[in-house]
Amino acid sequence: MFAGFMMNTWAVATIVAPVAGVVGFFVVLRGSAFPAHAIPKGAFAGAAGAALIGISTLLGLAVFSLLGALGIGVLGQRARRDVATALALVMMLALGAAFLSRTTEYEPEIYSLLFGEVLGVSSTELLPVAGLGAACIAAVLFLYRPLMLSSSVPDVAEAKGIRGQHIEICFLIVVALATAMTVPVVGALLIFSLMIGPPAAARSFTSRPVLAMALSVVIALVTVWVAIAASYLYNWPIGFFVGALGAVAYGAGRGWAAWRGTRRAGAASVAMPAVPPTTARA
């Protein structure tokens, strides 16, 4: 499985996984699992459209994932975020369906765009993927502190001059770029799995933020390497292994947390109604 033609795949996967781990750390922290799923899924519609008029699918992916991110961000300011995400997503998928209706010669390409393709990586893609990946990681590190602050105590962040809306849109754009570059290997439908499984597991194993981010990179790498090896050996689609391993990692994390008994009953997340015990109100 380390033959010449597979080396590209290993290389891309080794670039993709850290990006997924780093970006995914904040996806999980901010509860943005839905946007992380919706952005690449909607972007797939753009890739289909791009292929329709002959442009590179990567460009179509990038443009549509950015469009999706902005759509979710802008709509999300006038409606609940999950509603905004759902509607932005279906609008993009509907566009994708419209594009696809124009042609009939699509099946194998749709499949690999959606579910990933172990052999589908050419060496010309390596450099742009690496470049985009580096840019994504740099962006996340640049936004690290404001993201941590606004994700944990948003009101304090506002008081310190960090507008939640701006941070949200910046972050969604980073997610868009990350998904655009990772779709070719892992597929539009499963890249989000790489962005939520490993970080969800990592945070169960440590309470230190930087360590949790590093750990999610490690778990993402292991996930993707095992998935490639398994896909190569059994000929089953790589997406299947990514999805399964994501669930396994998450389960391991939950199991570990439960076994360590770190959950205290009555954690402050449940707010009690603030009714004073006596009538002494003043």
Binding site: R78, E158, F240
Partner: protein
């Protein structure tokens, strides 16, 4: 006058059998989705509502693999998936969406596997497309079964709607009043699974989500009273569906290529437009500043004015 009529309703529209099927199926899907959708939007579970479409699709492709009609696969895996999401999900919204995402990832992986394993040539060609986008014009499952399950889903919601609403808005107060919050949540998820499985199968994955969330969100822009919201959502959903079908039919005569555009595209476009338009005045009313951590919509108001 006659010209205007034929311009709107292209010849053959009312006579066409696929159109009539679509109108009925689409209407039923719209109503079921709207009813379940209002609660979905209030509970902030749009992700689960969407994800269950993909989860059911995994069941559908599994069913195709073993040569059965998709319906039992859709419903079966949908119920398993929603049960899993509810049981492993934690009550906080972020934990819940994460569990949804994990189940979804696993289900998509399964879909990838099933579609790959499906060796029958005629099935794979377009199987991906059918599973993902669906087609409102070609329904193969028995209409009776579909309607029966739809009634089941809506009926379940009708039975539990009051405790469900209370548990949605204020789980602590609901628990204090003896409402089995966890159980009610699970019952809701199962009804959601059935509704989404049905709509995914009949009108496709895109419309399943669009009809679930769009009309409900549009209705909640306009009113906070439950009864009115439910009715408005149904009306909006059905109107958008029928308008979309009409536009799709007419679109075959547009342009030079005479290809037309898919029904799903038009229905979604109408729903999206309705959502945006009704959201405009709501935006002005929401101009009061609130702390950054407050959600954009306040479900508490819906409860305090429950009709």
């Amino acid at each position: 006058m006659h010209q205007l009529y034929t311009w709107v309703f292209e010849p053959g529209f009312f006579a066409s059998a696929p159109v009539r099927t679509a109108v009925v199926i689409g209407g039923v899907a719209a109503v079921v989705s709207a009813v379940v959708g209002v609660f979905t939007v209030l509970r902030g579970q749009s992700f689960a509502g969407h994800a269950l479409g993909d989860v059911s699709a995994a069941g559908g492709s599994g069913a195709l693999l073993i040569g059965v009609t998709p319906l039992p696969g859709f419903i079966g895996l949908g119920i398993i998936g929603s049960g899993a999401m509810e049981l492993i999900g934690i009550r906080r919204v972020r934990g819940r969406d994460l569990a949804t995402g994990i189940v979804l990832g696993a289900a998509i992986g399964l879909t990838a596997l099933f579609l790959y394993l499906d060796t029958s040539a005629s099935a794979t060609t377009g199987a991906t497309q059918q599973i993902l986008f669906g087609s409102i014009f070609t329904i193969t499952s028995s209409l009776t079964i579909i309607i029966a399950f739809s009634v089941l889903a809506v009926g379940a919601i009708a039975v539990i709607w009051r405790p469900l609403l209370l548990a949605t808005v204020s789980p602590d107060i609901a628990a204090a009043r003896g409402v089995p919050v966890r159980l009610v949540g699970l019952a809701y998820m199962l009804a959601l699974a059935v509704a989404v499985a049905l709509s995914s199968l009949t009108v496709g994955a895109i419309l399943s989500t669009a009809l679930l969330i769009g009309p409900a969100a549009t209705a909640l822009h306009l009113t906070r009273r439950m009864g009115r919201a439910l009715i408005l959502a149904c009306v909006t959903g059905v109107a958008a569906t029928w308008a979309g079908i009409l536009l799709a039919y007419d679109s075959y005569d547009w342009g030079s290529s005479h290809q037309g555009l898919p029904v799903s595209f038009f229905i979604v476009a109408v729903i999206f437009a309705a959502f945006l338009l009704t959201g405009l005045p709501a935006r002005r009313a929401a101009a009061r500043p609130r702390p950054a951590s407050a959600p954009a919509a306040a479900p508490e108001e819906a409860c305090s004015r429950a009709s």
